[in-house]
Symmetry: C2
Subunit: 166 residues, 2 copies
DNA sequence: TATTGTTATACTCTATAACTATA
DNA sequence: TATAGTTATAGAGTATAACAATA
């Protein structure tokens, strides 16, 4: 690709091995992979009018319908102010609604609409298929292994002070 | 913590399980973990006057001294304009220098100074120790497994069009 | 007083595009 | 013409802080 420019500057091994030292860090590997996933995920979700943030919110709300924005913010580990934007966006496309709560007029109960459910199901299938394709060099056992290790890693990593960091 | 606010709004299982549906996606798990790592990494690197970006650049340059900024940008998967900032920052603290190249006066050969090497060695130890602590619930075999799977995943994921996307 | 949702603002990281000096 | 490095600008994602309504 392009010219190698190999006379004056040190020749590097290969585009994919020259960060060998960096790759010994789990965190860096994670970052690198996540960046790629994020990029593709954004493209996969675009036709559905979703972003990673709105897709994630939808997933949580499919799981736990009726929760408040504050609860959603805690689950997604983002601030309440960030949730407003996400919920606005989903409400604007008719995927969810803010329902008033009788006992407490400060909060909204978030509910995915039937249109939202359909949207979620289609998007979810697309994302699943996409992940499968992405990790195509890993077989089923590998993925399972990876999921298990990531699951334990996330527990281990977030074990110290999940909720209200400072 | 704080009050559970459990009367009017649906009670959710637990702060750590309420994103169960989301966690089935490898990408989401990766994001969640990377966010936590990033946060802690930033804190670990701060006393050394480094950020994740400058730490990464240093790692690459320890591995491949003498490369150009353009080469560095390709390895780190960021744009050349981004590299300028990183290199400026490292040069300002005396960790590396831009050496003119005889045959081509457009490029600089990047070299870590001896002070930079010392800095790197100290920071690297701190980060290593930190990663070990972070993944404390995973034993040595687990980490090795994880590294192997991530290594294969990153290959699989980036297999299509590494260098000049589009 | 404390909390929910909201708004405005700022910060970080990265990308895009235009420029310069060399090739 | 093309490339290396640079600069200015903008966008995405998220955090901080202040505010009104409600508890």
């Amino acid at each position: 690709m392009t010219k190698q420019h190999s006379n004056s500057v040190v020749k590097i091994k290969s585009m994919n091995e020259s960060d060998a030292l960096l790759r010994q860090f789990v965190g860096y590997r994670m970052k690198r992979i996540y960046m790629l996933i994020q990029e593709d995920m954004t493209r996969v979700l675009e036709p559905f009018g979703l972003r990673i943030g709105t897709f994630s919110a939808l997933a949580v709300l499919m799981d736990s319908p009726g929760i408040s924005q504050t609860q959603l913010s805690r689950i997604l580990n983002i601030k309440r102010s960030g949730v407003v934007v996400v919920v606005d966006e989903l409400e604007n496309v008719g995927a969810l609604e803010r329902r008033p709560v009788a006992n407490d007029r400060r909060v909204y109960a978030l509910h995915v609409t039937s249109a939202g459910i359909t949207l979620w199901e289609r998007a979810e299938r697309a994302v699943q298929g996409h992940e499968t394709a992405m990790f195509s060099e890993l077989d089923t056992d590998d993925i399972e292994q990876l999921q298990m290790l990531l699951g334990r890693a996330i527990k281990s990593v977030s074990g110290r002070g999940e909720s209200d960091k400072k």
